[in-house]
Symmetry: C2
Subunit: 362 residues, 2 copies
């Protein structure tokens, strides 16, 4: 912050506030109330939050907790926030995330009110600063991600036993979610996928009421949560017999992951890792997905991105997904994914490595 | 839009884009990519979205889908978006949500780039317009909320059988989530609560590793999802024998809900409903929560709010939570909640009414 000339950071989103404070609650699902954390360049952070969260925030290391009875149509925390910023930053510059993968979680009208209340204050982009802090995970953070990844891996091994041809995608997703909870996850915050003959059309859809059908390729892509940390990976299954083209494509993305695992060493860049996996797929990365993996932690996807343009250098403690995907035939995809942490030497696989041959359902 | 002089709406958040388009995906969990929907005053909406979502959006009624390969550090959709707005709105005013309970889900830097690309365009607050559209639910929407509320109600009846003293809160929450999925919910997107002797300290916390203990009052507050629509209600349980003060407080909030059910008629206001329930609790509404209920639908909480200041008039089709809460003793809360839809005549209860006596665990 000193190097960037910032007197304080202003945070409004769940992962940023949690990273600095430890404040963990699903209450963020409710859009009604804004929440703020002020991190001054000197001194301890100040939480400016709705009264409903005072007790929960009081269990974190934050001591200075200022509350109002929200929602309040006259002043939904802006006055308190302006006072806290003014007290800790004077007229110094305030950093907040304004760059890629960020947003401001407060009404735009209230942000204008805040600016009007602090007319001499400059608001500057602090995306790079916060990214750099969050990018490398502590061993405590890695333990949580590993737990989530191992629990989800364990649930995936049960899929051939709990799913069967004829079951709808909706029921199959529900059965897998139950298996994932039984394996020890706190939540399955994210489960997308599809089952289609010869490969699926996209990888972000909710389940359809269509039954699993002989010849389908089923993908389940899970964002499983343990103590506020995510795993994010997928597995592919053959419903009965699938064609040779599918098996060949699965072998290709599995081998692309092997290449990624071999290349994920400190000093390599994200772009290097992208190119390694793309080359292993014969240059045929699926362009619509836009990348072949990403950071992982308190969020399902985090900076950095495995793309041709991301020059972020791999360092020990960086947690990544390797996610090579390709088209089997026009409009028919196959995507594979593992979660790793960069170590000195070979990376540590946080997931249980996918079987080289697709498991068969039915 | 004509009355407000708007040439187009610009939407960037999940529920707004879904309400206008039908686009349903959990992919919003990933913060990486922005998504936009332009709703012109004349003509059909235009989706400006990452390529990864083209297939999923293509299954909605939206025909004009413009994509880019996101993430793109050079231009993450801003150029495409500016062109779509310019084409459909010319230099007319663009409405976007800027008011309470809203935020802009795109990087602030990109919003500045958009404004710079459209220097003659005025951006105006359209919160009221969008609220008014979303407030009254169709019967199809009500069916989904009812399904979620009934499934969660069914799971709650199993709680005395599946929870027991000595089980940790963490394990109890997981067991209840499994029961809720087994009852037919797609997801348990939200489950908060606590168990403490004589009442709980707050209602937004994740479960602790503390065991359920004789004398505890346990609250489970579920946001259960069916086809993208939420129920949101809680139930209280006595772990073994709890004191008379707890039983009296439960009776009070149960009766306050009865009073709310009797008062929820077309023509009454949200403020009327607040006062009715507050009076039934002897004027002792818990102030930190800030309200005694709220709207419900595609989001866990929606406009309006049951507060002294919300003059929104109840109309048939308005789905609400009634959520009276009070302090049993200093720092010890009890909160009760039901989901209703306002009808001509008495409201329809979407949840199965809570038993008047708290069910007992163990």
């Amino acid at each position: 912050m000193a190097a960037e000339g910032l007197a304080a950071l202003l945070l409004s989103t769940e992962p940023e506030i949690r990273w600095f404070s430890g404040f963990l609650t699903q209450f963020w699902q409710s859009p009604t109330r804004p929440w703020f954390l002020v991190v001054p360049a000197r001194g301890k952070p100040v939480a400016v939050i709705p009264g409903i969260g005072a007790e929960c925030m009081g269990r974190t290391w934050i001591e200075d907790i200022r509350t109002w009875s929200a929602p309040d149509p006259e002043d939904d925390g802006v006055g308190l926030l302006a006072a806290a910023l003014s007290e800790h930053a004077g007229t110094g510059a305030i950093g907040l995330p304004m760059g890629p993968e960020t947003h401001l979680r407060m009404p735009l009208n209230d942000f204008e009110r805040l600016r009007a209340a602090l007319p001499s204050t400059e608001f500057r982009d602090a995306t790079g600063l916060i990214r750099a802090l969050r990018r490398i995970k502590s061993e405590a953070e890695i333990d949580k991600i590993r737990f989530a990844a191992q629990a989800a891996s364990s649930a995936f091994t049960r899929v051939p036993d709990i799913l069967a041809p004829g079951m709808t995608e909706t029921d199959a997703f529900r059965a897998f979610k139950i298996a994932a909870l039984e394996a020890g996850l706190d939540d399955v915050a994210y489960l997308v996928g599809a089952a289609r003959s010869g490969g699926y059309g996209d990888i972000i859809s909710p389940p359809a009421d269509r039954p699993l059908t002989q010849g389908d390729v089923l993908i389940l892509d899970i964002g499983g949560v343990h103590d506020g940390y995510y795993c994010d990976f997928d597995r592919n299954f053959a419903v009965g017999a699938v064609g040779d083209a599918v098996h060949r494509a699965h072998e290709t993305v599995w081998q692309a992951t092997e290449a990624g695992l071999a290349a994920a060493r400190p000093g390599a860049t994200c772009a290097d890792l992208f190119r390694t996996m793309q080359t292993a797929m014969g240059g045929d990365a699926e362009p619509n997905v836009g990348r072949l993996g990403h950071g992982l932690g308190m969020q399902l996807t985090e900076h950095p991105s495995l793309t041709p343009w991301d020059q972020t250098v791999l360092e020990p403690g960086l947690v990544l997904t390797l996610e090579p995907g390709m088209e089997i035939s026009p409009g028919k995809l196959i995507v594979h994914e593992e979660n790793i942490v960069v170590r000195n030497g070979p990376p540590e696989l946080l997931t249980v490595r996918a079987p080289r041959e697709m498991p068969v359902i039915g």
